[in-house]
């Protein structure tokens, strides 16, 4: 673990973005991901605010700054992070990708200008060139050509990868949500086309060293299920990709994060530190977002004094005070937004969570079915499991479930059930 070897640095308990070299923890996850990426592409899924983006950003940073563990040195990993939020359509997406890829010119000695020239010829649209700026090609009305352009760019890159025996990881952050937005705007055909092309590219170019990470807060499964049900989509867009779910921090990682936060100006009695970090770990269930929130409340409401009492009080605020409910509301929103067709499905999922929120231990599937009197409980349990709400365990060859994180369970029990 890197956290063992490096010294804590001052870090404010913030949310939002963070400079890559300051991202705490996730060393084990990065190693696991890279091991998977040696052989195939990966789909990273987890609900919002669990630290997916920071994880993949740190992965990219480590790949590109030669900070990978010894076992990966031979792989010559490079990585490029893209965030797909706000990409209106295929045209915007492709131009964004090409512009960003062009910045990697120095990595692969690829003359993207050639590609751009060919694109220019294809679409024959007026463009402006500025000294340090690449052309931005806006393609919405030339969709029939985008596939050629896309293929060309990736062919060029992959040929280079093969030549150099190196690997390039393209990280597509928020891909599922972008596809979902397209679907909502009636652009499902574009979405399905993109999925097919990506699969075709992956299958063809993975052997040459190209890898993808699809990263998203909503699972690809939600998108694919919707396309299957509504439009008869039959593609297996991600079945050849490994699935990876981001968990919470280990106690050591939480300790390191706490040390960093403390250095930004918190007050603490040194001797109590370890037990206080443990409390924070327990209250937050190791989810870094909630660690940050606890520190934030201690900062604003308790004059930056970290004690058992202030930690407990901050935790109580998070769980009980409606002004902090936005930190959990996604648990409800996700169901309402993505599973409300038919409505009874969402209701049934909520009923399951209501029921499980009152149980501290694993509950057998049978007891859940008997306890809530709803239809298709088994299916909905599986959906909740796949969407990271639940944990499953087999006891005496029977399925048992509980809510994944205690902090979620408590919030749901107090505020929803």
């Amino acid at each position: 673990m890197e956290t063992k070897n490096i010294t804590p640095y001052p870090l404010s308990p913030t949310s939002g973005t963070m400079q890559e070299d300051k991202i705490v923890g996730r060393e084990n996850e990065i190693t696991s991901l890279l091991r998977l990426l040696k052989g195939q592409s990966v789909s990273v899924e987890e609900i919002r605010r669990m630290g997916k983006t920071l994880l993949v950003q740190k992965l990219a940073y480590k790949c590109n700054s030669n900070k990978l563990p010894e076992e990966f040195k031979g792989e010559k990993f490079k990585a490029k992070y893209f965030t797909f939020q706000g990409q209106d359509d295929l045209g915007h997406l492709i131009s964004y990708l090409i512009l960003e890829l062009k910045k990697m010119k120095e990595w692969y000695q690829i003359d993207f200008d050639k590609t751009l020239q060919s694109i220019k010829e294809i679409i024959n649209s007026p463009t402006l060139t500025f000294e340090n700026l690449s052309i931005n090609i806006n393609l919405p009305i030339h969709q029939k050509h985008w596939k050629d352009i896309f293929n060309k760019v990736f062919d060029d890159i992959s040929a280079n990868l093969e030549k150099n025996e190196s690997k390039l990881i393209l990280i597509f952050d928020e891909l599922p949500i972008m596809l979902w937005e397209w679907y909502k705007k009636g652009k499902q055909d574009d979405a399905m086309l993109l999925l097919n092309i990506l699969r075709e590219r992956r299958q063809k170019l993975e052997p040459k060293g190209l890898r993808f990470i699809f990263c998203g807060s909503i699972g690809m499964q939600i998108v694919l299920d919707t396309f299957r049900t509504k439009y008869g989509y039959t593609g297996e867009a991600t079945n050849d990709m490994a699935k990876y779910s981001v968990g919470s921090f280990s106690l050591k990682e939480v300790q390191f994060l706490c040390e960093c936060y403390t250095l930004s100006g918190f007050n603490i009695i040194k001797e109590d530190k370890l037990s206080l970090w443990e409390s924070i770990y327990n209250y937050s269930n190791g989810i870094p977002f909630y660690v940050s929130k606890l520190f934030n409340i201690i900062q604003t409401d308790h004059d930056k004094n970290i004690t058992e009492l202030t930690i407990k009080s901050a935790y109580d605020s998070i769980i009980n005070d409606p002004i902090h409910h936005d930190k959990f509301k996604q648990l409800l929103d996700r169901i309402n937004i993505y599973y409300s067709e038919p409505l009874v499905k969402a209701e049934s999922m909520k009923a399951i969570l209501d029921f499980l929120s009152k149980q501290e231990e694993f509950v057998s599937e049978e007891d859940i079915i008997n306890g809530i009197n709803q239809e298709e409980v088994k299916t909905h349990l599986y959906t909740l499991l796949a969407d990271h709400y639940l944990l499953r365990e087999m006891k005496n060859e029977k399925r048992h479930y509980k809510i994944k994180y205690e902090i979620f369970r408590k919030w749901w029990k107090i505020n929803q059930a």
Binding site: N132, E181, Q330
Partner: protein
């Protein structure tokens, strides 16, 4: 100092941005911590390369602009040292329509605060104007900013950020978010009046992205310091002295009135200066009129439905229940709930727990001044009523009395007619306020008071209660006193005493509060219902319904009223021997009750019962099914509840009887048995279980079951509270066993029954039971017959007709035991015939 004064009077109240930052810093009362927090955040950007996303949330006038202005002032050194680039947006950044506009505002902000870079930035903007497509423009604008930043971090200071996000819509917000991730050295410290969907909805790009910092309202102490600071800047030593001494009471009132809002305090600071003036009303009206446009901005941009709700609550002048709001605004309850939740989120209304029913929330306007502003122009009594309200908050009773005295003297000395009129207006207003303040409204204290009264009355009689109350220092109005007594007696089922007290309580109820009066009428109605049920009095039932309906009309916001009405209708139906209309009305009331809490088990229980009654009355299977299914649900959810099991069995047994259905009788029997397991002392479960056993035995002609039933009713004889029905059942069983199996009852058993009849208050049945004994029992011996005769003799005076029965016993002895066949002829003909038909037909066979 002229500049300062003008700042306070004209500028500060509505635009902190143009006030000298030093003055603003002095006025950071109650916000020093927030200011330090924000400064620390900027330091972490500069020193530790952190990115900060902070959203400061607070209502208008709570000092958001003030804070950002001070922050901007305090970080000037960092800016000058090129450690950070700051884009400080204007307070009202109108017209940001998309992501590109947002980027342009960053340019504008750079140019506004950095004169030196203006020419360079202007050139870049002109290049931007040459670019044809939107995506190209966005990309180029991003790159210009990134280039301008060079290695420096960027801090965006923006006000009303929720409005900005709302204008640019989620799609464009996503672009902004993507850019923040891409550049990775941009921070945003923003303010907002409230948290909007864009910050707390899962499908929005900025979900959970910001650390939210809620501004707290100023405490009373903060308010005091703030006003002293204002007066000091204003160089008004007299006002400083006034605040520090006599004025503390007023400041408290002012604090309550403006709820710790900085900007309003500045406005009302003028009041402190004019405190010694007589024409307070004039000042008040002027201030309110000045504030009106300010408050209108709160309301103007709300959806029409929310405006309607806000206006309704404001004009009602007291907390309102959700259901009333929904009814009176003609909005369905779901939309009303949504609207109320939105308004609460926007801090425009506050949610209060209803003291009389914790499940039904009350809603009130969050700021007194917002209410007053809405009322101006709307209230039929015009501004006078508002002024009276204001005085009541602003002055204590003593202060008002002094003030009135003061003005009276001025009035007497005044010669100018128009001035006299103004003074008179104020005197009248003060009179009204004094009257208003005398009224004690103690709803919140009622629980405590009630506990004390109950405690006292449980040990003493009512006589010393008043002294007890006085010595305990309880302040209580006469009306509340009698109401508490009425409630006590209602609990103790002394309905007459409830009525005595409720009449007095109504007499003294000068509080005219709908909620309070409704509880009086509810108590009244329930007492009448109790009496009507006891006396089986139709008129009393009608009077009861009248009271309850009135109570519900006054306060339809509680399930309790509807449940009381439902109960009354159901009792009324019972009294009428079944009344379909009343039962339907009862069901309707229960449906209303459900609107408060669809999961209320008590309502569900009652509904199942009423449905069952209706099913039996109408002999309708569907209703019966509904009733029992609903009971089954209740039993499932709470298998240890006796009442649910018992009532379900009861409805089923009645229906089984109606349909003469063996299976239903069996089911009902088992349910009674289960209920009995839960409550082994329940006579009712035991009795009706026995009845069901009898029905099953009867239909199946099962002797063992008959015997079991007989044992059950015999056992019941030894239990307290046994009634005539038990004896009737015994008789029925004895007859049936004889008729179906020619089996006679055991002599000891029947003697036991007779001795119980004799002891009970239904000893009038003795005659009939003696005949039964002679007819169905095993043959009595002399001794046993003597015993029967002794019983007869004991009751002879009370029931002279027993003389004939005694004669029958004698004839029985001679005829059945001694075999004296002619004995029969010693009876007169009609008695002989009776003896032959009713005694001999079995006993001597």
């Amino acid at each position: 100092m002229v500049e300062n004064k003008s700042s306070i009077n004209n500028t500060l109240s509505f635009g902190a941005k143009s006030v000298n930052p030093e003055i603003l810093e002095k006025l950071l009362v109650g916000r020093q911590n927030t200011s330090a927090y924000l400064l620390d955040a900027v330091k972490s950007i500069v020193n530790d390369r952190d990115n900060q996303f902070i959203l400061v949330v607070g209502q208008r006038g709570m000092g958001k602009t003030h804070l950002l202005r001070v922050l901007h002032h305090n970080i000037q050194d960092f800016i000058k040292e090129n450690k950070i680039v700051v884009a400080y947006f204007s307070e009202e950044e109108y017209g940001i329509d998309n992501y590109f506009d947002f980027l342009i505002r960053i340019f504008n902000a750079f140019m506004r605060w950095n004169e030196g870079d203006k020419p360079y930035l202007k050139t870049k903007i002109s290049e931007l104007q040459e670019i044809g497509t939107k995506a190209n423009r966005e990309h180029y604008a991003e790159s210009i900013i990134e280039e301008y930043l060079n290695e420096r971090p960027l801090l965006i200071l923006a006000e009303n950020f929720a409005d900005i996000l709302e204008s640019i819509k989620p799609k464009e917000q996503a672009k902004l978010r993507a850019w923040l991730y891409k550049v990775n050295k941009i921070s945003i410290i923003a303010t907002s009046q409230a948290i909007s969907k864009d910050f707390d909805s899962e499908d929005r790009p900025f979900y959970g992205f910001f650390n939210t910092y809620y501004l707290k309202k100023l405490s009373y102490e903060d308010t005091l310091s703030f006003l002293i600071q204002l007066a000091e800047i204003d160089e008004r030593k007299d006002v400083v002295d006034f605040i520090n001494n006599k004025g503390k009471g007023q400041i408290k009132a002012l604090h309550q009135l403006v709820k710790g809002n900085h900007r309003l305090l500045v406005t009302f600071y003028q009041f402190l200066k004019t405190n010694t003036l007589v024409k307070l009303s004039e000042n008040f009206i002027k201030t309110i009129n000045d504030l009106k446009p300010y408050y209108e901005t709160y309301i103007r941009y709300l959806p029409a439905q929310q405006q309607k709700i806000l206006r309704y609550i404001a004009l009602k002048r007291k907390p309102q229940l959700g259901i009333d709001i929904s009814k009176n605004c003609f909005i369905d309850q779901k939309s009303a709930t949504k609207g109320l939740s939105e308004l609460t989120k926007k801090n425009l209304i506050e949610t209060i727990t209803n003291p009389s029913n914790k499940r039904n929330k009350l809603y009130d306007i969050n700021e007194p001044l917002l209410r007053i502003s809405i009322e101006v122009g709307e209230h039929r009594e015009g501004i006078t009523a508002l002024f009276i309200d204001f005085l009541a908050i602003y002055y204590s009773e003593q202060e008002l009395t002094n003030r009135k005295e003061n003005i009276l003297q001025k009035f007497k000395a005044c010669k100018v007619k128009s001035e006299k009129k103004d003074l008179n207006f104020e005197i009248q207003a003060i009179d009204k306020v004094i009257e208003l303040q005398k009224i004690e409204y103690l709803v919140n204290d009622n629980y405590k008071t009630s506990e004390l009264i109950v405690k006292y009355l449980n040990q003493n009689t009512e006589d010393g209660l008043l002294d007890y109350i006085k010595t305990n220092g309880i302040k209580i109005s006469k009306s509340v006193y009698h109401h508490q007594l009425a409630l006590y007696y209602l609990d103790n089922i002394d309905f007459d005493k409830v009525l005595q007290n409720i009449v007095k309580c109504n007499e003294y109820d000068n509080q005219k509060s709908d909620i309070y009066t409704s509880t009086i009428y509810l108590t009244w109605g329930l007492a009448l219902c109790g009496i009507a049920n006891k006396k089986k009095d139709n008129e009393l039932f009608q009077a009861c319904l009248e009271k309850l309906e009135y109570a519900e009309k006054l306060n339809s916001g509680s399930s309790g009223f509807h449940m009381s009405l439902a109960k009354t209708y159901s009792l009324f139906s019972k009294f009428k021997g079944g009344d379909e209309k009343a039962l339907i009305k009862s069901l309707q009331q229960l449906e209303f009750a459900f609107t408060f809490d669809k999961d209320d088990k008590q309502i569900a229980h009652m509904k199942s019962m009423v449905l069952g009654d209706l099913a039996i009355l109408k002999n309708e299977e569907e209703l019966y099914k509904k009733s029992t299914e609903s009971f089954i649900e209740l039993i499932k959810s709470n298998p240890n509840n006796y009442e649910n099991l018992y009532r379900c069995a009861f409805i089923r047994s009645k229906y089984a009887l109606l349909k003469n259905d063996l299976e239903l009788h069996k089911k009902s029997y088992f349910e009674f048995e289960k209920a009995l397991e839960l409550n082994p002392n329940s006579n009712n479960a035991m009795f009706f279980g026995g009845v069901e056993l009898f029905h099953v035995a009867l239909l199946e002609k099962d002797k063992a079951l008959y015997s079991k039933g007989l044992e059950r009713f015999l056992k019941l004889l030894s239990m307290p509270g046994v009634d005539r029905n038990n004896f009737d059942m015994l008789k029925l069983l004895i007859e049936s066993i004889y008729e179906d199996f020619s089996e006679r009852i055991n002599k000891n058993q029947i003697l036991n029954i007779i001795s119980e009849v004799e002891k009970s208050d239904i000893d009038g049945l003795l005659n009939s039971w003696l005949i039964t004994a002679l007819k169905y029992s095993e043959i009595f011996n002399y001794e046993e017959l003597e015993k029967l005769k002794r019983i007869v003799k004991k009751k002879n005076d009370k029931y002279p007709e027993l003389a004939i029965t005694e004669n029958y016993i004698n004839i029985y002895k001679r005829l059945v035991i001694d075999g004296e066949k002619n004995a029969l002829y010693d009876l007169p003909k009609e008695q002989r015939l009776f003896f032959e038909e009713n005694i001999l037909s079995s006993s001597n066979n």
